[in-house]
């Protein structure tokens, strides 16, 4: 009980790293799809969105964070690739969740947050808060990078 809590590390790399990874993934997309047709607009939008999330996860540190690991694993599963990360099963049983006698409103909100953050299903509540903080920082940085790119490239 006397032991102090360790410091919570939510440091995020700089904007340059996010931009580098995103542009690299975009260039890879262009190489993979040299012959574009206007009929596949939705397909291309989904490709760009996925590239944004994957590059964000890689910029955040790859497999050092739970949410980034979950995102990369999901992307690899979509591409039918071999999953390289160690498979840890930290699923919280429903009995344990029900045993937590807390307010129903807070519980519902925590459940929604768990569904929203990638890889949130297997975390306990305090870990979920920590991962959410890091995820929010990375996501806002990614949004800034994409906004800058769109503003720079779009004609007025």
């Amino acid at each position: 009980m006397a032991s102090a809590d360790k410091l919570i590390n939510t440091d995020v790399p700089e904007k340059d790293v996010f931009a580098f990874h995103f542009l690299q993934s975009l260039s890879n997309l262009r190489k993979q799809n040299p012959f574009d047709t206007p009929d596949q607009k939705n397909y291309r939008v989904r490709k760009i969105k996925k590239a944004a999330y994957v590059s964000m996860a890689r910029a955040a540190g790859g497999s050092s964070r739970l949410w980034s690991r979950a995102l990369l694993r999901r992307a690899d599963k979509d591409d039918n690739k071999i999953v390289r990360f160690s498979r840890r099963k930290w699923k919280i049983s429903s009995k344990r969740r029900r045993s937590n006698q807390r307010a129903p409103v807070v519980e519902e909100a925590a459940e929604r947050l768990r569904n929203l953050v990638p890889g949130g299903g297997g975390m306990e509540t305090s870990k979920l808060m920590e991962e959410t903080a890091h995820y929010i920082k990375c996501l806002s940085m990614q949004v800034k990078v994409m906004q800058c790119l769109v503003d720079g490239l779009s004609p007025k």
Partner: protein, 343 residues
């Protein structure tokens, strides 16, 4: 013959015959009477002898009995003595046992004393660690079992993380209540994700718009395109400079060049950084067209090779012209030599 036979046979027979003969003597002649008188004499002698024998025998018996009795008495005494000795020995044994018990008790007492000493030492040892941490008494009604303490620690941890999240989300500090704070956080994350989707759609639109058209333009427009892309790279990253190569009129490839050494690997494109107030002029191929950027940290040299004949859209052309003045004047504060770019 008969008396001789009688004598030969033995005493008891003799006695029996003697008793029969007197009866027969009385009934018979004087010989028989003499014989009967002789008989009683013998009998009398025998009686005497027997009596004498009996008396000493009796005496001997009595003596023996007396001796036996004496011996038995001695034995009895000895037995008594032995009994008393046994009693004494038993008493002694009991005394010994008592002593042993006493000794055992003494040992037990010593052991108890030692145990007491160890107990005191244990108490001292127990007293020592209490000095390490501060003892806080629980409040009235506050549970002190391990489960409650762990739950309380967990709740404190969660509240700390919640505070960090509140600091991250804009406009979330004023909200009071855990459920409302969580709702605000969820809404913020959802809005960020929607922004990512919207921006990806916009990027796709820009990409499709930047696709090549049918019209053909002279090579100087290609130069302008390269300049604009190099200017973009300045804003995105400080470590890596991104340059675009226009190839085959289908898509723009992005390459990263850090130093001059990498220029030799890409025959169509070259980039390097130089100090201010210096001119840069690079020649790669005989048919290259070069551009000068004075008083700037960026210089671009583009070759005019086969790629010059690829088509470029008119809309992109006008966009390039406008962006040149915007970026160069307001960001780099540099004047372009019109003779090179707009000749």
């Amino acid at each position: 013959m008969d008396p001789s036979g009688m004598m030969n046979e033995g005493g008891p027979f003799n006695l029996a015959e003697i008793w029969q003969f007197p009866l027969n003597g009385v009934s018979t002649a004087g010989d028989s009477s003499r014989r009967s008188f002789v008989g009683p004499n013998q009998f009398g002698d025998a009686d005497l002898t027997t009596a004498a024998n009996g008396d000493p025998a009796r005496m001997s018996h009595a003596l023996s009995q007396a001796v036996i009795e004496g011996i038995s008495g001695a034995w009895k005494r000895r037995e008594d003595e032995s009994k008393s000795a046994k009693i004494v020995s038993t008493i002694g044994a009991s005394e010994g046992e008592n002593k042993r018990q006493k000794i055992d008790e003494v040992c037990d007492g010593k052991a108890e004393a030692e145990s007491l000493g160890t107990e005191t030492e244990q108490k001292k040892q127990q007293m020592e660690p209490t000095k390490d941490y501060i003892h806080v008494r629980a409040r009235r009604g506050q549970a002190t079992d391990s489960h409650s303490l762990a739950e309380r620690a967990r709740r404190e941890k969660i509240s700390e993380r919640m505070k960090i999240l509140q600091d991250l989300v804009p406009g979330c500090n004023k909200v009071i209540g855990k459920a409302l704070v969580l709702d605000e956080i969820i809404n913020y994350i959802q809005s960020l994700q929607r922004q990512v989707e919207f921006l990806s759609m916009k990027l796709e639109a820009v990409n499709s718009r930047m696709n090549p058209g049918i019209e053909v333009f002279p090579p100087k427009e290609v130069m302008i395109l390269m300049i604009i892309n190099s200017i973009f790279s300045i804003f995105f990253t400080k470590q890596y400079m991104f340059l675009s190569r226009y190839s085959r009129g289908r898509s723009l490839d992005v390459y990263a060049v850090r130093s001059f050494k990498h220029c030799n690997k890409r025959s169509d494109l070259c980039f390097c950084s130089c100090s201010p107030k210096t001119e840069l002029k690079t020649t790669i191929f005989s048919q290259n067209m070069t551009c000068f950027c004075r008083y700037s940290r960026v210089g671009v040299a583009i070759s005019s090779s086969k790629h010059c004949n690829e088509p470029v859209t008119l809309c992109f052309y006008s966009y390039c012209l406008r962006k040149i003045y915007h970026f160069l004047l307001w960001n780099l504060k540099y004047k372009i030599q019109k003779s090179v770019l707009f000749s």
